[in-house]
């Protein structure tokens, strides 16, 4: 019996050792497959269709045929704020991964993504990116660290055409000024009982959207001097005016409903469910509204965020492709080839555009959502012509936006400590929406101190 127990213990200990050995990470650069370099890349969203996987496999095979020394392994991936930081720190991200524009500057400042400046000429059009979007992937040293890859957007005003009609408003004539937004919100709220205008306020989205409103009124959240030193200007007049606007809607007109804890996901949910007449968010949010929230395309309308005053502009955003900072030179070179092929190839030739679009079609994802040029207007126009047969979104209902965004000024996000600036502004938006006596000046002064503290730390 004693021997049996000892044997059992030995077996237990050995199994544990074997389990740990099995858990040890595999070596990415292991030239196990006939000396090929193994490159892990972002693949499809979890839950994609079999057909989409088949299309992706075709693309991988095509790429490997042109690059016989590279073996590509795709990983299902969905960027989530809550898991991204842990994945990044834990080293479990693929060699090529996607990040939102909003996080580029912070990740670069933290030395968490690789510098690709020397490889810029390897990209399509010899790296002649639209400077307005490329700057999101640039560090304070002017070097390029991440590449604009997809879903390049300006923030727009999304509105519910059904609710407009019910409120006696013309859905083909969306509001063009903030005063008209206020009037429409009141009309919707009075006629239907749902919120006429909704505003994000949580998880840094409150700060993000009040920055949108500020830019639309000509203000800025930071100034950067000749030496590159940033100063927080959260207490500028345009931000104050934006908050006063929200205060009027909330407390004078009572046209914002009763939920003030919206973030990006929950406001999309509410809008798709017909609980919001209007809200501001990225122009590409249509995909989420239809795909994840089952919105009927018929109710959807997209207009410009009203631009008022000198120096007003539209805040832009999108998705960057980045490479792990731990990647060696060979992996970086392979990653650049993959980014050029997979993300940017559609702007170069029709075959690339069709292959990329067919994956979206196979996944049932909307095709033809307005986007801004990664390279040039001409390249974007070519791409749009190539995918025209596949377009399945109501482009006519987006005309108020698409007809004007081209001539609008795109303004970059606050360049230093972007997310910290947004985090400092969240409580201000929340206070204005939940406290009738909120002192906007005092709140902004406090937020400015908090943001400056983070900026100083980032620049020290």
């Amino acid at each position: 019996m004693k021997t049996y127990i000892k044997g059992l213990a030995v077996v237990g200990a050995l199994s544990l050792a074997v389990s740990f050995a099995a858990c040890s990470p595999a070596n990415n650069d292991d030239p196990g497959d006939s000396g090929k370099l193994n490159l892990t890349v972002v693949g499809l969203l979890p839950g994609s269709t079999e057909e989409a996987y088949a299309r992706l496999a075709e693309q991988v095979a095509d790429f490997e045929k042109s690059n016989p020394d590279i073996k590509v392994t795709t990983v299902d991936y969905e960027w989530k704020a809550t898991t991204f930081a842990a994945d990044l720190a834990g080293g479990t991200l693929p060699d090529v991964f996607e990040i939102p524009f909003t996080d580029g500057k912070t990740l670069i400042a933290n030395n968490q993504i690789a510098n690709v400046n020397d490889l810029l000429a390897e990209f399509p059009y010899k790296g002649a990116f639209n400077e307005g979007v490329l700057q999101y992937g640039k560090g304070s040293d002017g070097q390029v660290y991440a590449i604009p890859a997809k879903s390049i957007y300006g923030v727009g005003l999304h509105y519910n055409r059904d609710l407009f009609t019910q409120a006696g408003l013309d859905p083909d004539q969306p509001p063009a000024t903030w005063d008209e937004v206020r009037t429409a919100a009141k009309a919707i709220s009075d006629a239907t009982g749902v919120a006429g205008f909704c505003q994000m306020a949580q998880s840094n989205t409150g700060g993000w959207q009040i920055t949108v409103d500020t830019y639309a009124r000509g203000g800025r959240m930071e100034t950067v001097d000749a030496d590159g030193k940033a100063t927080a200007t959260l207490d500028n007049d345009a931000t104050k005016a934006s908050l006063e606007f929200l205060k009027e809607l909330r407390w004078t007109d009572n046209s914002m409903g009763a939920n003030f804890t919206y973030d990006w996901g929950s406001i999309n949910q509410a809008f798709a469910a017909g609980q919001c007449g209007m809200y501001t968010s990225g122009q590409d949010v249509y995909v989420n509204l239809v795909d994840a929230n089952g919105m009927s395309p018929d109710i959807y309308g997209l207009a410009m965020v009203p631009l008022e005053g000198a120096d007003s502009g539209v805040l832009g955003g999108g998705t960057l492709a980045a490479i792990s900072v731990n990647a060696d030179d060979a992996t970086k070179a392979a990653a650049v080839k993959w980014i050029s092929y997979f993300y940017l190839g559609r702007y170069v030739d029709q075959a690339g555009a069709v292959a990329y679009t067919e994956i979206a079609v196979a996944n049932g994802t909307p095709v033809g959502v307005p986007e801004l040029p990664i390279f040039s207007d001409a390249a974007l126009k070519d791409y749009q012509t190539w995918i025209e047969p596949y377009i399945n979104v109501p482009v006519d209902q987006m005309t108020p936006f698409t007809s004007q965004i081209g001539s609008a000024k795109l303004v970059n996000e606050p360049p230093v400590s972007t997310q910290d600036v947004y985090a400092a502004l969240d409580p201000v938006v929340q206070a204005v929406l939940t406290d009738q006596n909120a002192d906007i000046d005092a709140l902004l002064a406090e937020a400015n101190v908090a943001a400056q503290r983070e900026i100083d730390r980032a620049q020290s």
Binding site: K2, I5, K6, A9, V10, G12, A13, L16, F20, A81, T82, F84, A85, A86, L88, A89, G90, G91, D103, T106, L107, N110, N111, Q112, A201, Q202, S203, N204, G257, A258, N259, F260, T261, D263, V325, N326, Q419, D420, Y422, A423, D426, P427, V428, Q430, A431, L433, T434, D435, A438, L443, E446, V449, A450, R453, E454, R457
Partner: protein, 316 residues
């Protein structure tokens, strides 16, 4: 031979034996089997609990993003946390949550357990009903309560209260209402486990004590005051300190319900730690996060020691 001499002689014998013989003796007495049996749990605890704790203690004095080389920064992380304007707010909010949880969350399970112990029939059913919320996954229960807490007139709670002429209340959308709303949901979710502990303790109170009290003419309240509560004293002190420790580390409710809002009204210490590590700075502020974690752990350890020292006499 006196009986007390035996262990002394054994000890002397062991100390005189040579090391290989002591090892053989240890082996023969089953030391190796015991070690091998314990090895998995030692490795698992060491790898997934003790090692991360030690690493966190080291990181509290470093500047690191877990990718590049860490640099020693002395007490800078502690200074950063202590001068953070949000720190006093988070401290106050955590204390407020703990206080509310004590006022609302401590007596409710006790009252529930006492009432249930008085019920002779269907006690099992009541126990199951009380424990049911504990079985529901916390995230699910929070989402459920979030739906109930809809601040609109048509929200579930507001509709129900509207029938008796109350409300509508803003619930999570108001800085004064948000924290009590969180405590209410947390109490609902956690009370069941405490009820079961109290119920077990109550059932173990000898029935003769109640009979004697009845013979002395005691009513239900006097029985509770003079028999039940004194008998539960030990359990009460333990559950109280456990509750204080748990509420000092409250994270789930403020994170999922309000994200710390509105206007930081529900920002707690744990949420601040999370924000440092995984929030606004995209995971770069591990130093301040671990520094604040360390401060909280030290505070709770000292608090527990003082608590047990103060209550040592009372709980007997």
């Amino acid at each position: 031979m006196k009986r007390s001499e035996q262990p002394v002689r054994d000890a002397a014998t062991v100390s005189q034996t040579r090391l290989p013989e002591r090892f053989k003796l240890w082996f023969r007495k089953g030391g190796l089997s015991a070690l091998l049996f314990a090895l998995p749990i030692i490795v698992v605890f060491g790898g997934f609990s003790w090692w991360p704790i030690l690493r966190a203690m080291v990181m509290a004095f470093q500047d690191t993003n877990l990718i590049g080389d860490a640099t020693w920064v002395g007490l800078d992380n502690f200074r950063w946390v202590l001068t953070d304007p949000d720190f006093p707010k988070a401290l106050r909010n955590t204390g407020y949550f703990a206080l509310l949880a004590l006022i609302i969350g401590f007596p409710i399970p006790l009252i529930g357990a006492v009432l249930m112990s008085e019920v002779k029939k269907l006690r099992g059913l009541f126990s199951v009903l009380a424990y049911l919320p504990v079985v529901i996954p916390p995230v699910v229960s929070v989402l459920l309560w979030k739906f109930f807490y809809d601040g609109a007139r048509t929200g579930v709670f507001n509709t129900l209260l509207g029938h008796i002429g109350l409300g509508p209340f803003p619930w999570l959308n108001d800085k004064h209402w948000a924290m009590p709303s969180l405590v209410l949901a947390a109490t609902w979710a956690g009370a069941g486990a405490t009820v079961i502990i109290y119920l077990a303790a109550l059932i173990s109170v000898p029935a003769e004590l109640y009979e004697a009290a009845e013979l002395d003419g005691a009513g239900i309240w006097r029985k509770i005051w003079h028999v039940t509560l004194p008998k539960l004293r030990g359990v009460l002190f333990i559950t109280l300190i456990l509750q204080i420790i748990a509420t000092a580390q409250v994270f789930l409710e403020p994170y999922l319900f309000t994200g710390g809002g509105p206007n930081k009204a529900t920002l707690t210490i744990l949420l601040m730690i999370y924000n440092y590590a995984f929030g606004a700075s995209l995971g770069a502020d591990y130093g301040p996060a671990t520094a604040l974690s360390l401060m909280l752990a030290v505070f709770l350890a000292i608090f527990s020691l003082i608590y047990f020292r103060l209550t040592r006499g009372w709980s007997q």
